[in-house]
């Protein structure tokens, strides 16, 4: 099990949230989006200029900038791409 920050997650790879490093308004916004410990996140693509990236979070695709993604700690899953893997 590797830990990494969300911005380092490669496209088509998934991980589970291990913790949020941000505080205040940004932290609340992330929780509102359903990003809490244990949430599965899959990176589904990057914008043409490489930032922001798009992530599949609870069935919705959300774009997050690199500097915000840095504050989301992940445990990488070995399996990527498939839905419903645990």
């Amino acid at each position: 099990m590797d830990t990494l920050t969300l911005d380092n997650l490669s496209v088509n790879r998934c991980g589970r949230v291990a913790g949020l490093l941000s505080g205040g308004a940004m932290r609340r916004r992330m929780i509102d989006l359903g990003i809490v410990e244990g949430t599965k996140i899959e990176c589904v693509g990057r914008s043409p200029s490489g930032d922001p990236s798009a992530y599949m979070i609870r069935g919705a695709v959300i774009a997050i900038r690199k500097r915000d993604a840095k504050n989301i700690l992940l445990v990488a899953s070995s399996v990527g791409g498939n839905y419903g893997t645990h």
Binding site: S49, V61, G84, H86
Partner: protein
């Protein structure tokens, strides 16, 4: 919700003294809960028909809609509570929903879920099942889910949750009947809370507090849930609860003693306030995830895969930007080729009307000056605006709405976020920029979607650099006349579209430049965080798009333009006909401005037209033509050739046309937009800046362009 007192039924419930009186009238009270936008109101309206009224009893700050529903000889009161994502009371709606479910004790709670994102909805379901003994799950939008390749196993979901789960398709009466059957079955059952199991530390703390709560507060509340909220330190709930039980809950000795012990237990294990909140939230999220496992299945070739393949092209490194430009050019191509034909039809028709109107006025003996003001002034300007503006608008708006409906616009924001963040701005500015293509005033209002005040101001001030619909006809006409000049065949139209695209891209470049400039000077700061949902691509509802864009946008913008054009026409006619010495007032001012204007590659008349065109950009060209012809009214211009002849006769060349195009792109937004800026920013100074900034840039660009090109031509 969406139901107001005026929009629903006749009987108003606040005649009854209290909710208790109200409850006695019906066999059962059914609460209708759910996330926002899951079709809850549709279900509510279908169940209750027209027999609705709004209830606003004491203690309720947000009104809930109430309706009556008869089924199997019973009469149920349906209460539509506000749509929320959670019951954790972080917003007013959540508080209202929670208070109704807990303290008004509905007999059954129906939770409406969206089948296309069931997992997110289950979060609320689990929270409601913690407070409501009798719950029925209504999985709505099954048809839409099916189209997206999502299958829901409602039986498995039902056995996992231990309650009835009914799949519903929109307004289908039959499936709603099944829902009501489930409601009456559930009413007769005993019901039970479904508690979520949290981690050991939390469960232990609850087991300390819960027995005391059960003893003290035996009323219809789940002791475990109440314990959790007390541990959570939910102040609004404590207040509400104290009112409900009739004593200060935290002031009670036994409760506060147990609460302190439980709190201590949690703190010893490292669960401080925020950590506890998050632990509870994430347990719910995981539980929802586990329940969905096997309940929700995606077809292999589902929409999600398809969306991803589309996004791989539309947001790819290689094609992302070219595709955006290609879309823009295509929209312009269709607009230009369609608009030319319709434009001529409408202008022929309107000038025919003018003839009839004029004859009528003369036949009833209207004096010459009034005839001039009405027909040559007001009517002609109006006719011009309608015939020149309506066709491109009637084509451009629906096309644009189509792109919006498909879900492409958020991708534009996604693609352009990096450049915007380089300017310390927000990617959502791309969305407001796109709205500006329709109408800058609408774009300025749209800036509300940007959260950070600084970034919102950047978007507001730079919105007018994309040409609004009032400028398009002018740009299209000038490009066609001076830079294409052919017979309007396929390649001419294509070339016009490409040139117009280039002009627009210049406007976009200016947007970036000014955003950057402002963020380095007046509006310094670092970009705030940015999250943007990229919704699934949808097949556009073409009929709805047509109706919406024609009614909402085209008619609205046209009506506004006409309302301004009519009085402006009168003013222009007066200025052209009132003489100072030997020359008209219009000519007099034009001559005065001429030296400065020619420095910009324009002439005095054009500059006057731009100044007079402040109320609405679309009247700039009519004013120019009117002044040139000096006959005191807008000429009947049947074709672009005629327009070209007038312009050339008055000394226009490529440089003039180029300068006019540049200046029409880069000058003050119309008066409506300026007023909107003032309203949105609450400051006259920002409105002034949003007028001065583009004008100064336009003057500089025109001077450079005109003088450089004159050097070479």
């Amino acid at each position: 919700m969406g139901l107001t007192k005026s929009s629903v039924g006749t009987r108003v419930i606040d005649k009854e003294k209290s909710f208790g009186d109200f409850r006695e009238k019906y066999d059962a009270v059914v609460a209708l809960a759910g996330n926002p936008n899951v079709g809850k109101s549709t279900v509510f309206n279908s169940l209750t028909g027209m027999k609705q009224h709004t209830g606003n009893w004491a203690g309720k700050t947000v009104a809930s809609a109430v309706g009556v529903c008869r089924h199997g000889g019973h009469e149920y009161a349906m209460v539509d509570i506000p749509g929320t994502y959670s019951l954790m009371s972080s917003s007013k709606e959540e508080e209202v929903a929670r208070n109704f479910l807990c303290f008004s004790s509905p007999d059954v709670s129906v939770v409406v879920c969206d089948a296309t994102c069931l997992e997110r909805n289950l979060n609320l379901v689990l929270q409601i099942m913690e407070v409501s003994k009798k719950t029925v799950i209504c999985v709505n939008l099954l048809d839409e889910a099916k189209r997206k390749g999502i299958e829901i196993d409602t039986e498995l979901l039902s056995s996992r949750l231990g309650v009835s789960v009914v799949g519903v398709v929109g307004r289908d009466k039959k499936s709603l009947g099944v829902l009501l059957d489930a409601v009456s079955d559930t009413l007769e059952s005993d019901g039970a809370y479904r508690n979520v199991t949290y981690c050991d530390a939390i469960e232990d703390a609850v087991s300390i507090l819960s027995p005391v709560i059960e003893k003290k507060i035996s009323l219809r509340l789940n002791p475990k849930w109440v314990s959790l909220r007390l541990l959570d330190g939910d102040e609004t709930l404590v207040k509400e609860l104290s009112g409900f039980v009739g004593f200060d809950v935290l002031g009670d000795e036994d409760i506060s003693l147990a609460l302190n012990r439980a709190d201590e237990h949690l703190r010893e294990r490292g669960f401080f306030a925020d950590i506890l909140k998050e632990a509870i939230a994430s347990t719910l999220v995981r539980e929802a995830e586990d329940i969905c496992e096997g309940v929700v299945s995606y077809e292999k070739k589902g929409k999600k895969e398809r969306d991803r393949s589309i996004d791989k092209v539309l947001t790819s490194r290689a094609f992302g930007y070219p595709v955006m430009i290609a879309f823009l050019a295509t929209v312009f191509f269709i607009t230009i080729s369609g608009a030319n034909a319709i434009s001529e039809l409408i202008s022929t028709f309107l000038f025919y009307i003018e003839g009839l109107f004029g004859k009528f006025l003369l036949s009833i003996g209207t004096p010459d000056w009034l005839y001039g003001a009405l027909v040559l002034g007001i009517f002609r300007v109006l006719a011009w605006v309608v015939s020149v503006m309506l066709p491109p608008m009637a084509i451009f708006f629906p096309l644009f709405t189509l792109l919006e409906d498909v879900g492409y616009l958020p991708r534009i924001a996604y693609n352009l976020d990096k450049p915007f963040s380089k300017c310390s701005a927000c990617g959502k500015q791309a969305l407001t920029m796109c709205m500006g293509f329709g109408c800058n005033a609408a774009g300025v209002v749209g800036c509300r979607i940007i959260d950070s005040p600084r970034e919102r101001l950047l978007a507001t001030l730079t919105n007018c650099f994309v040409p609004c619909n009032g400028k398009f006809p002018m740009l299209i006409a000038l490009i066609s006349i001076f830079f294409i000049g052919g017979d309007g065949g396929f390649f001419d139209t294509l070339l016009s579209a490409l040139l117009l695209t280039a002009v627009i891209l210049l406007g976009v470049a200016m947007t970036f430049f000014c955003t950057w400039l402002l963020s380095k000077t007046l509006l310094r700061g670092t970009p705030s965080s940015f999250t943007l949902e990229l919704p699934p691509y949808r097949r556009p509802q073409i009929f709805r798009v047509l109706v919406r864009s024609v009614l909402d946008r085209t008619v609205f913008v046209l009506a506004r333009a006409a309302a301004i054009a009519a009085p402006a026409g009168l003013v222009i006619w007066l200025m052209a006909n009132i003489t100072v010495g030997d020359v008209s007032l219009l000519r007099y001012i034009a001559d005065f401005l001429d030296p400065f204007a020619s420095l910009m590659g324009l002439d005095g008349v054009i500059l006057v037209a731009f100044i007079l065109g402040l109320p609405a950009n679309e009247i700039v060209i009519p004013i120019i033509i009117m002044a040139y012809l000096a006959e005191g009214s807008i000429a009947e211009i049947g074709s672009l050739d005629e327009m070209r002849r007038i312009f050339v006769d008055n000394g226009w060349d490529f440089v003039t046309a180029g300068s006019v195009i540049l200046f029409s792109l880069l000058h003050s937004p119309c008066a409506t937009t300026l007023m909107t800026v003032k309203k949105e920013t609450g400051s006259f100074r920002w409105a002034l800046l949003s007028a001065v900034l583009p004008t100064v840039i336009g003057i500089i660009v025109c001077i450079i362009f005109a003088n450089l090109t004159r050097l070479f031509i």
